[in-house]
């Protein structure tokens, strides 16, 4: 069931002024859907469909009805057939699948979406979206004054004028949880792969593209790249796939690593966002309250984000830090130990120089962003574990994450 409401001000690239203000419940950008948890059925991968059907232009659910774009009417039957199984799993017959004739193939949109990623480095640009519902690429900005700079950069990136839409996105959130499907994707939200559930740490720009960071152990195998596909929040939800694991350095043996152990400096991995996934750089989901052992899981409707203003210095003993995770929520406590070489229960893994914090943690919080501050925050690390009592969590400092994953732009 969808429970989303979005307030959007559409702006056309190159247009001089704002076009309109619309309450557009069908628009996917900044929308949020809530699904009952089930891990059985996955939505079709649009990139795979695009490789089989050149005229395929993307698909979405229009009030629950699968709706597909094609650039040629002759491809309509093939596109409908590709979605038939998915539609049936949702109780929709083949004949009810809708077909819309669009101007752009999914392959074209994905190319423009990828090339547009650098605009996220501009001030005030909060999202880029391969917009399946509108058969276009949409860029979200915080106010109309950003349009000129975005337009100029898009031109420089070789993206044709008129194929990208710029919108002022001002989402109004109903009650949402860290465990719901939330767009744009931010740090602190639940992610899923296979039969496992973790938390997305933070979004980042990497030289290889728009990325998200979570734990190494939140991938198919801890250490080494298996191309793990991640979903937010569950694989069974339509449109929940967000990306693929692309970096997870192998754990070392020998040298300073104790005999029988495999070692790294951080429990971190990097995933590359799929084209079309709406995410926000420099944002962590903000819930309605924080506590020491547990905090709220409900995203604050009036103030839904913590803003990452940069990377913080390694925290010191006695310093207060916080994390936001899908199970214990927003928790805050003081650093108790730094630079602890830590063995992981039930495995051969040892992590060098980790930081311990006297704050709540529960299963599912793996990957949580750790930060200082409570409004504008500084990112200091990524949570990966805790003690069995659930009152002390362990994090890998951000510097060690970058040491292993490469330079990351986090805001």
């Amino acid at each position: 069931m969808s429970r989303s409401r979005t307030l959007l001000l559409p702006l056309l690239v190159g247009a001089a002024a704002l076009a309109a203000c619309a309450d557009d419940p069908s628009a996917p950008q900044a929308a949020r859907t809530v699904r009952e948890p089930s891990l059985q059925v996955s939505a079709p991968d649009p990139r795979e469909l695009a490789s089989r059907i050149p005229a395929f232009g993307g698909y979405y659910l229009d009030r629950g009805i699968p709706t597909v774009w094609v650039t040629e009417q002759e491809s309509a039957d093939e596109a409908v057939s590709a979605l038939e199984g998915f539609a049936r799993s949702r109780g929709v017959a083949r004949g009810a699948i809708r077909v819309r004739l669009g101007g752009h193939s999914y392959t074209e949109l994905a190319d423009w979406f990828d090339r547009a990623t650098p605009v996220l480095a501009l001030d005030g640009v909060i999202s880029t979206d391969l917009d399946e519902a509108e058969n276009t690429v949409t860029i979200g900005v915080d106010n109309p004054g950003r349009v000129r700079a975005v337009t100029n950069l898009l031109r420089g990136l070789g993206i044709p004028e008129g194929v990208v839409r710029i919108r002022q996105a001002d989402p109004i959130y109903t009650t949402a949880s860290l465990r719901d499907q939330v767009r744009p994707v931010t740090g602190g939200l639940q992610i899923n792969y296979g039969n496992y559930v973790c938390t997305l740490g933070f979004n980042a720009l990497h030289s290889q593209g728009a990325s998200y960071i979570t734990n190494s152990h939140c991938t198919g195998r801890q250490g080494g790249v298996q191309g793990t596909v991640h979903y937010q929040s569950l694989a069974s939800q339509a449109g929940s796939r967000i990306g693929v694991e692309v970096a997870d350095p192998v754990y070392a043996t020998g040298g300073s690593c104790p005999k029988g152990k495999t070692c790294r400096f951080s429990d971190s991995s990097r995933g590359l966002y799929d084209a079309g996934v709406l995410f926000s750089l420099g944002r962590v989901a903000r819930t309605t309250s924080s506590g020491n052992l547990t905090g709220s899981l409900t995203i604050d409707a009036s103030n839904p984000f913590l803003t990452i203003t940069g990377k913080g210095s390694p925290p010191v003993v006695g310093q207060s830090v916080s994390k936001v995770g899908r199970t214990s929520g927003w928790t805050t406590g003081n650093v108790t130990n730094t630079c602890v070489n830590t063995s992981v229960q039930g495995s051969k893994v040892m992590l060098y120089c980790q930081t311990f914090v006297a704050a709540g943690v529960l299963g599912g919080d793996s990957g949580s962003p750790v930060f200082t501050g409570s409004g504008n925050v500084s990112l200091v690390g990524i949570l990966w574990g805790g003690n069995s009592a659930g009152n002390s969590f362990v994090m890998s400092p951000i510097g060690q994450v970058e040491q292993e994953l490469g330079s990351l732009t986090v805001n």
Partner: protein, 160 residues
């Protein structure tokens, strides 16, 4: 299906003292049967001093429908606590350990069980041997919502 309310009922049920066992060599502590999940600790009723004590925890779907359970760890994390009869904790399996905070979703068919095996060497976490006497053993299974606890299973250690 959201099973959390049932888990709360289960936890409440688990807080009651375990009934005496009719078995001669083991105590099988079962939770209330109408919750849909039963979490049990099986230990010998008696062990000689110094002998390792085998401990088996078993989580069973006693309901009529499949049930999802959210467990912690890539390898499922479980704890075992041994207390003297007076309540003093002498050994905790995960004492001082750091566990990964990942959730694992398992679906149990009706009647299906997950089993977790541990062994206690009759030493405290400080490494000191415990004296003969009466003890209780309790299993703990962290989930994303609450910790499942078995009823206390009594264990008597007799001189070797």
């Amino acid at each position: 299906m959201d099973f959390r309310p049932l888990l709360l009922v289960l936890l409440a049920a688990c807080s009651a003292p375990a009934p005496p066992s009719a078995q001669a060599d083991a105590v099988d502590s079962a939770a209330a049967p109408d919750t849909g999940l039963a979490f049990r600790a099986q230990v010998p009723a008696q062990a000689r001093a110094g002998e390792p004590v085998p401990i088996k925890l078993r989580l069973t779907n006693t309901g009529a429908a499949p049930r999802e359970v959210y467990l912690t760890g890539r390898t499922v994390t479980f704890d075992v606590v041994v207390e003297r009869a007076g309540g003093e904790v002498v050994w905790r399996r995960l004492e001082g350990e750091t566990v990964q905070s990942i959730l694992q979703v398992r679906t149990l068919a009706p009647g299906e069980s997950l089993e977790f095996d541990a062994s206690w060497d009759q030493r405290t976490n400080a490494g000191e041997p415990v004296p003969p006497g009466d003890y209780v053993v309790r299993g703990i299974l962290p989930t994303d919502d609450a910790r499942l606890r078995t009823p206390d299973a009594p264990l008597r250690i007799v001189p070797g």
